[in-house]
């Protein structure tokens, strides 16, 4: 059995480790590229959202590289992502590929099926203790990736030599990817912190603060959002993201197992504007925007794939949030046509506006 899986941020390294340690042969999907997207757009329906197209392209690339099993996640809706695999499987079969499709559904409604599917991907004899050890290692690795990324957001706007943070950050990702044991990860953690802290920083500059909200895939996958955090950081913006892989897993998959709602504070913050669970991350987008505003952020950027239903609902309420809390909001919808230069121009204009507004507030506008 050769498994391939969706590519999302740095998680693909940890997922590779996980699947390998469970005794599978793994086909690591390539980072989404123009080629991936062209496979995706060619075979996906026109109005499919960007993540659908990227994932479909990724699967085709994986199958071409010799994979015979695809593993992905499901969902309970009403966001369309929960039905991705149903349609993707049909499309891929109609193209003549032969493969197994394993969909991991959320535990609250499909506990039995989830258990069976997890058993399917454990292909070597192992004790429960060993299994637990693997899970712990992968989890620690994921946490470390997220920590390094958070740190890069803090440092990037202050860097003296442009591009240095991104370079160091990539080195750190490579080092973390090399780790083999939990003990190694602990040492690497200190190394990463030291490496990041040694970047030259400006002392006399105060960045503007922007919160990033939106649909999970385009927020977490740099190839989908055209490295928006890097672009913003280089424009002198401290970016805070509402979503990280580990945090998302805890607040959704794990809490779901016990039928608990994750991120309650966010949902509560969204309440006056957004009263219904509309699937996806629509309500979280609004709730996080409110929380960022309350914490004194200068702006919020909402990322969504074109035609994303929950984010469209969120988008229509965000202006009301912006008005009530006096925070600037920029909604960006991304599709296969979005170009990096065009995006950068829009971001530059937005960031200029934020700096002007900040100066005015502080009474330095003369």
């Amino acid at each position: 059995m050769k498994i391939t899986y969706p590519y999302m941020g740095n998680s693909h390294i940890a997922i590779k480790n996980l699947l390998e340690r469970l005794g599978n042969e793994v086909v690591v999907p390539p980072r989404p590229s123009k080629k991936t997207l062209s496979y995706g757009t060619q075979h996906a329906p026109e109005f499919a959202c960007l993540p659908f197209k990227i994932l479909l392209g990724t699967y085709i690339e994986g199958l071409e590289m010799g994979a015979d099993t695809i593993i992905s996640t499901g969902g309970v809706g009403p966001c369309r992502a929960g039905l991705y695999t149903t349609l993707q499987e049909r499309i891929l079969r109609s193209l003549g590929y032969e493969f197994d499709f394993i969909t991991l559904e959320p535990p609250s409604r499909y506990l039995n099926a989830l258990y069976k599917n997890i058993k399917k991907i454990i292909n070597r004899p192992m004790t429960l203790k060993e299994f637990w050890h693997v899970i712990r290692f992968v989890w620690e690795q994921l946490k470390l990736f997220d920590m390094a990324e958070r740190k890069s957001f803090e440092i990037r706007p202050l860097e003296v030599n442009q591009g240095e943070t991104s370079k160091v950050y990539r080195e750190c990702v490579d080092i973390i990817a090399e780790a083999r044991t939990i003990e190694e990860l602990k040492e690497i953690k200190n190394e990463v912190i030291k490496k990041m802290d040694s970047i030259d920083r400006r002392k006399d500059f105060e960045p503007v603060k922007v919160g990033l909200v939106g649909e999970i895939y385009v927020v977490l996958e740099p190839a989908a959002n055209l490295e928006i955090e890097e672009t913003l950081g280089e424009l002198g913006v401290y970016v805070e993201r509402s979503m990280f892989f580990t945090h998302y897993t805890v607040s959704n998959a794990i809490m779901d197992l016990f039928h608990l709602a994750g991120e309650r504070n966010v949902k509560k913050a969204a309440r006056p504007f957004f009263n219904e669970m509309c699937g996806g991350h629509g309500r979280e987008s609004v709730g996080n925007a409110v929380l960022y505003a309350k914490r004194g952020f200068d702006g919020v950027i909402q990322l969504s794939p074109f035609t994303c239903i929950p984010e469209i609902v969120a988008k229509s309420v965000l202006p009301a949030v912006a008005k009530k809390y006096d925070i600037s909001v920029l909604s960006l919808s991304l599709d296969e046509q979005t170009g990096k230069a065009g995006l950068r121009t829009r971001l530059e204009a937005f960031v200029d506006l934020l700096f002007k507004k900040k100066q005015k507030k502080e009474g330095r506008f003369a």
Binding site: A48, G77, P78, L83, T86, L87, I91, F273, T307, S316
Partner: protein, 323 residues
């Protein structure tokens, strides 16, 4: 007191029910005008840019009612059964309207979620009704009559009529080419938005079946064909109707009507398309938006119906040759 009901989205499925309900409670019910270019343009101007056209149209209809009534009925339709909810845009509709359009009269937005059972509807009706009257018997009477009215409405569809377009079965069922015309009622039954598509097909000599003409039981029979039930009520209805016709082949072709930017439909449409290809059922997708041209649509429909006629002739000849 005047209450306004926008002529869009769930209007085409539930209007007779709400109208009766509010009228018995002693309210004057005002519908928004039939869609015009102005209503569409108003909607496009106000609504969030990447919303689908039906949602934009809804904004337009709300604006059409704004100055005529003291209250607008914008229900939050969540679910009518346990298996699915409505499209997320239905779920967030009152929020979208509230925060997009300025100077609105108060909205009446009950949350309609019948996941727990049909009895919920009575509770919701009671809650809504008690805003207007203190007499619980009157509310119950209004509820009973409303349900009856909805049943009558549904029954007339089952007989082959299309009440919102004022077509009866003698008109829809007379053609020689049988077509399943599948689309959400809020597109199909709005003559302006659908560019009179159904009327055009009838004029071309087609017998038209829409999803309301198939009893719920026949749809449920098809439910197992999907590996995973879709999340959306209307979409399930469409895909099951399509599977029904794919199975019994009582139609010559299937037309799927969808709107630009419709979220659920990218899955529904592709699933139907793949299935139709497999069993060699002629299948046409028509994507409508506020800019669709009437002549272009006419040409496509004519070509499709002509093709079906040719196909039938060829089939009949084959049979006579070999039989």
């Amino acid at each position: 007191m005047k209450i306004g009901i926008p002529r869009a989205l769930s209007y085409y499925t539930y209007y007779p029910m709400w109208k009766t309900f509010f009228q018995i409670l002693g309210l004057e019910v005002v519908e928004s005008d039939a869609t015009t270019k102005k209503i569409m343009d108003d909607g496009v101007k106000e609504a969030v840019t990447d919303a689908c056209s039906p949602i934009k149209l809804y904004h337009g209809h709300v604006m059409n009612l704004m100055d005529k009534v003291e209250c607008i009925f914008v229900p939050r339709l969540v679910s009518i059964n346990r298996e699915a909810t409505f499209c997320p845009k239905f779920l967030g509709l009152p929020d979208m309207i509230q925060y997009t359009i300025n100077n609105l009269p108060p909205l009446l937005s009950p949350r309609i979620d019948l996941k727990k059972g049909k009895g919920e509807l009575l509770k919701i009706c009671y809650r809504v009704g008690s805003k207007f009257t203190k007499n619980p018997f009157l509310i119950y009477k209004a509820y009973r009559n409303a349900i009856q009215e909805l049943k009558n409405y549904a029954a007339s569809f089952l007989k082959g009529a299309i009440p919102p377009l004022k077509l009866d079965s003698s008109q829809t069922q007379k053609g020689d080419i049988a077509l399943a015309v599948l689309g959400y009622p809020y597109m199909l039954y709005d003559p302006y938005f659908s560019l009179n598509l159904i009327k055009k097909l009838i004029d071309l000599g087609a017998k038209v079946y829409t999803l309301e003409m198939l009893p719920e039981k026949a749809k449920l029979k098809q439910a197992d064909k999907l590996k995973k039930t879709l999340f959306w009520t209307y979409s399930n209805s469409i895909i099951r109707t399509a599977y029904h016709f794919f199975e019994n082949k009582r139609v010559d072709g299937v037309i799927h009507i969808t709107a630009f930017g419709c979220g659920p439909d990218f899955i529904v449409d592709k699933l139907m398309e793949l299935e139709a290809k497999e069993i060699q059922m002629p299948f046409l997708t028509v994507i409508l938006d506020e800019q669709t041209g009437e002549e272009g649509l006419k040409t496509r429909l004519e070509a499709f119906v002509d093709m079906l006629r040719l196909r039938r002739i060829r089939h009949e000849n084959n049979i006579s040759l070999h039989g």
